[in-house]
């Protein structure tokens, strides 16, 4: 299925969980947060939340700012 991650299109296997995606992308978990289609996903729900075709995933962390 096709999803977008931080604005970039990506082909992943159907039914991939948020946890699976973070592992696939090798994203550090500390101070990282995830939203799927505008909804912020709780850390405890990463394994349970399955992605669907067309989902928009945002993975964020702190950056320099003022």
């Amino acid at each position: 299925m096709k999803i977008s991650v931080n604005g970039k299109p990506m082909e992943v296997e159907a039914g991939l969980s948020v946890e699976g995606l973070l592992t696939l992308l090798n994203v550090k978990r500390e101070f990282t947060a995830v939203a799927v289609n505008r909804d912020v996903i709780r850390r405890a729900d990463y394994a349970a939340v399955r992605l669907s075709d067309g989902d928009k995933v945002e993975i964020v962390r702190p950056m320099g700012g003022g």
Binding site: R38, P62, G65
Partner: protein
């Protein structure tokens, strides 16, 4: 002189200077500037990770020592700002948020309608909300009533370095609310920070004035001293302004030089 601490949502801070993490020439300079500023609260933005994920800004901030203050910079609606705060909380950055709802790209002035709405929602959801607002006493009171932990009027546009353009309004803001007043944005140099504190503000938040200075570490120290000096001068109680001179030395006891 005895002084109270800065209290935000029940948390106490001895430093009254809040600094940012943007626009530094290097991460090492940023770390040294934070040290020189003596700050306890440090602002960060929340942005997409670059993939593959590499170095993090938090490799250069001791999160046990500093309280992180995620901002909602770049958000133009209450909805975006609220979601960003949830992201920050879920990322483990805590409950303290610097709330920005921007209304205009060129001036980065706040959209106070969106700001008020977001403040209400976030305060209800348990966030300690620090809203960046105009130097408007009426809005300051509304934000306080909406549950803001402090109000942060701008001294001048973000990154402008123009200083405190309307000290009279800041003074009225101070009289209008009981929550702390922190000047956020516009400070260019040490005297600007001192002026804010001399007016009676509870703190100053700045990024560009330090990060953009030729020697960021030296400017950070200058800002630390200015905030402390301004605070001391405020607490000390300045003399009134008078148009004409008042002699500092006694007029009596002058020798007689007449011949």
């Amino acid at each position: 002189m005895y002084d109270t601490n800065l209290v935000l949502g029940g948390k106490e801070f001895t430093s009254r200077l809040i600094v940012g993490t943007g626009k530094y020439s290097s991460m090492e300079t940023m770390r040294e500037a934070h040290e020189a500023a003596g700050s306890e609260i440090i602002t960060v933005a929340v942005r997409r990770v670059s993939l593959p994920s590499g170095e993090s800004i938090l490799d250069y901030i001791d999160t046990k020592r500093y309280t992180l203050l995620p901002n909602t910079a770049g958000c133009y609606t209450a909805d975006e700002a609220i979601r960003t705060c949830y992201l920050a909380r879920e990322a483990g950055l805590g409950d303290l948020v610097k709330l920005e709802v921007i209304g205009d790209q060129r001036t980065l002035f706040p959209d106070v309608m969106g700001l008020l709405e977001a403040t209400q929602t976030l305060a209800r959801e348990g966030f300690i909300v620090m809203p960046y607002t105009n130097d408007d006493p009426v809005m300051a009171r509304k934000l306080q009533d909406a549950g803001a932990a402090c109000v942060m009027p701008l001294g001048a546009p973000i990154g402008s370095g123009l200083g405190i353009r309307n000290p009279y309004n800041i003074k009225i803001v101070l009289e209008s609310v009981t929550v702390p007043v922190i000047v956020d944005a516009g400070v260019g140099t040490a005297s600007d920070a001192a002026i804010a504190m001399e007016l009676g503000c509870d703190g100053v938040l700045m990024n560009t004035a330090i990060a953009g200075a030729q020697d960021a570490v030296a400017m950070a120290r200058a800002m630390k001293l200015a905030v402390e000096a301004g605070r001391l001068a405020y607490k000390a109680g300045r003399i009134g302004k008078k148009l004409y001179a008042t002699a500092s030395s006694p007029l009596e006891g002058l020798p007689d030089w007449t011949s």
